[in-house]
């Protein structure tokens, strides 16, 4: 990797291009919507060909097992009957949707686009931090950043042997086409003021899918249609929805939703439209279920897990609870109901009094939390005010499931801009990097 040159000399030009091309995300502050640029650092994360090959195998294995788990949970539930996963972990999960019982999505694929969050430990080992199987976002950022970086710094790419990542739209389109039930592909967005609107519209442009909102959709004869401006209708065969399950169909889920499509679940149940990702996936990316994913891999695939989970404890189990209560100050505790970096507490940040309170909360609500050892993951260099400094960073890898399960040879590397923080989420001020996978 020593021969690789980075586009660090063109920071200004690249950021100007990002601005020009509208690479923004929305954020609500004090009840007001603001669009801001997603801070981009030009020094990429570099992954060797060997490392990527290893990650690729592990990620495909994991996502295949998760898809099998989802089918099992909404059908025969063998994994519960065989006592691999306690049933309360499934049924108490807010992501488990009884309304999805018995529904078989096209080709039995539930998670078409999986965003798997990993970190690389200082020992060089990769650890899975989280599976995101509902509406993982972020692929568009390294995708457009690569295009713009290649424009501003072509020399960096001429000698380095970096795998081109600009095939993401092809992978996504192919995943949509492979499950399309007849009709066009569409991306359903909650609208212009959604935090990820840039991504919705950019992916629609690149995949040729229609970008739609709920007020132009309707279900008729258990089929989903888009109204056209001449009063006609166009059938939608695959809907890549960027709206959470609970808001997707007010007649099945939250009746107060004003961004959903009435009767969509019925069209989906009838097999007339593929919903991407499928409804009910939240049961598999629940932080509590995460603990059991290695067991799923053994159960469904009869293979040893290739990628490791971060060492995790479930206070639900007495033995684990005892360990968590005794070691709270050195663990990171996650509320299973939260996402986006919220509900994450580092024991080391708590006062003695707060630790005592937290212990009691865990005793009272053991199912609500998981605890993990703090992984000392590798810092990555970023440029800040013209100087190179080191910051915590994770990697969101994207796995796309269609005819085959494939890993995108890139990913979203997010970093913390705060030197003392492990939290990398954009909603909390984090930035992003491109992820370069080497071809040799």
């Amino acid at each position: 990797m020593e021969n690789i040159s980075f586009p660090s000399a063109n920071v200004k030009e690249i950021n100007e291009l990002l601005r020009r091309y509208g690479v923004k995300f929305g954020i609500y502050k004090n009840g007001e919507f603001k669009e801001q640029l997603f801070p981009f650092d030009t020094i990429p994360r570099v992954i060797s060909a060997d490392s990527f090959s290893y990650l690729e195998k592990g990620l495909i294995q994991r996502v295949d097992a998760l898809n099998m788990f989802l089918y099992d949970i909404y059908h025969e539930k063998k994994i519960i009957a065989d006592k691999i996963i306690p049933e309360e972990f499934v049924y108490i999960s807010s992501g488990y949707l009884p309304q999805c019982e018995g529904i078989t999505p096209p080709k039995k694929i539930y998670s078409h686009i999986s965003g798997i969050d990993l970190v690389e430990g200082k020992d060089g080992e990769w650890y899975i931090l989280e599976d995101n199987l509902r509406i993982p976002s972020g692929a568009s950022y390294p995708l457009i950043a690569r295009e713009l970086t290649r424009t501003a710094s072509p020399d960096c790419f001429s000698q380095s042997g970096i795998v081109d990542n600009r095939n993401y739209a092809e992978l996504l389109r192919s995943a949509m086409d492979s499950v399309n039930c007849g009709g066009i592909n569409a991306i359903l967005t909650p609208g212009r003021y959604n935090a990820a609107y840039f991504e919705h519209s950019y992916l629609a442009e690149l995949t040729g899918a229609a970008l739609v909102q709920n007020n132009e959709l309707f279900v008729e004869d258990n089929m989903l249609f888009q109204k056209t401006y001449t009063g006609g209708k166009t059938r939608i065969g695959a809907l890549y929805r960027r709206i959470s399950d609970e808001y997707l169909d007010p007649l099945t889920f939250n009746p107060c939703s004003v961004i959903g499509v009435p009767n969509l679940t019925e069209a989906y149940r009838a097999g007339n439209v593929a919903v991407i990702n499928a409804l009910g996936n939240g049961v598999a990316d629940d932080k509590g279920i995460y603990y059991f994913v290695p067991k799923m891999i053994k159960y469904y695939l009869n293979e040893e897990p290739i990628l490791k989970n971060a060492p995790t404890y479930l206070p639900f189990y007495e033995e684990d609870r005892k360990y968590v209560l005794e070691n709270l100050e050195k663990l990171v505790i996650k509320d299973v109901a939260e996402a986006g970096g919220y509900g994450v507490v580092f024991g080391s940040d708590l006062t003695a009094e707060k630790l005592a309170d937290f212990r009691q909360t865990i005793i009272n609500e053991p199912r609500r939390f998981i605890a993990q050892e703090v992984i000392d993951f590798k810092d990555l260099p970023i440029i800040e005010n013209g100087e190179q400094v080191m910051r915590k960073a994770d990697l969101r890898a994207f796995v796309l499931s269609g005819e085959k399960t494939r890993v995108w040879a890139s990913g979203l590397t997010r970093f913390s801009r705060n030197p003392d923080s492990f939290v990398v989420n954009s909603s909390q001020g984090g930035g992003f990097k491109d992820t370069w996978v080497l071809s040799r």
Partner: protein
């Protein structure tokens, strides 16, 4: 499977207003540049005629304050800057129709307008690159959009806006007539059952006014209101 060639109600509306606001920005800028050229050494209060053409009163201390507000002030709904911001608002939801590349020209124009405000260059010189950028935008849209109906809707918006401003500012008949011809060609390309099919009564009224040739200025208010009502459903043929 997957490629779209359909226009939703929402997008047809956005396309039309993207055309209108982009053109409102451009034509306003051009008109103000022409006006600026005359006020610097002829009539320092010449801008009052411009205000009156749009039914606005003079609340400005001098022509410099007027130009600053009408070009750069995004809170002034009659300013070029305001129109450009609204063009962006409409364009951003049309990325997959018009392309990221085309949308980037609007962002570029917004950034250049901010720069022009603080530039030491003469006003007209500072605004030149922005006009080039808008030409780039239209070139990019025409290059990217293959669907004729999409093209007709956005151009309808563009030409209606241009005609509206030209009529209010009493441009020479030949110029107005040429734009009216363009509008008629666009209107004929939009399907009858769409919200952008013309109202026959309003179109006939416009044809009649155009028949007056240079005398159109006597009927310009009627022409402007006919233009505004061109897509109203009442009496639609």
């Amino acid at each position: 499977m997957g490629t779209i060639s359909i226009i939703s109600v929402e997008h047809s509306d956005r396309l039309f207003w993207l055309g209108r606001y982009t053109e409102r920005f451009f034509t306003t800028l051009k008109a103000l540049e022409k006006l600026y050229d005359s006020v610097i050494d002829k009539d320092q209060y010449g801008y009052r005629e411009y205000l009156s053409a749009f039914g606005l009163s003079d609340v400005y201390n001098d022509y410099k304050e007027f130009f600053k507000s009408f070009i750069f002030d995004r809170s002034n709904e009659s300013s070029a800057a305001y129109s450009l911001s609204r063009a962006y608002d409409n364009g951003i939801v049309l990325r997959e129709e018009i392309s990221t590349e085309a949308l980037s020209f609007i962002q570029l124009a917004l950034d250049d307008l901010d720069r022009a405000q603080n530039s030491n260059q003469g006003l007209r010189l500072a605004l030149h690159p922005i006009e080039d950028t808008i030409f780039g935008f239209w070139g990019c849209v025409d290059d990217h959009v293959c669907d004729n109906e999409t093209r007709y809707i956005i151009h309808c918006g563009k030409i209606i806006e241009r005609l509206d401003i030209y009529l209010r500012l009493k441009y020479p008949f030949e110029i107005i007539d040429a734009e009216f011809g363009r509008l008629c060609r666009c209107l004929s390309g939009i399907p009858k059952n769409s919200p952008y099919h013309y109202n026959q009564k309003q179109l006939s009224s416009l044809v009649e006014i155009m028949g007056l040739k240079d005398g159109y200025t006597e009927q310009k208010d009627l022409a402007v209101s006919s233009l505004e009502a061109l897509f109203e459903p009442t009496g639609r043929s």
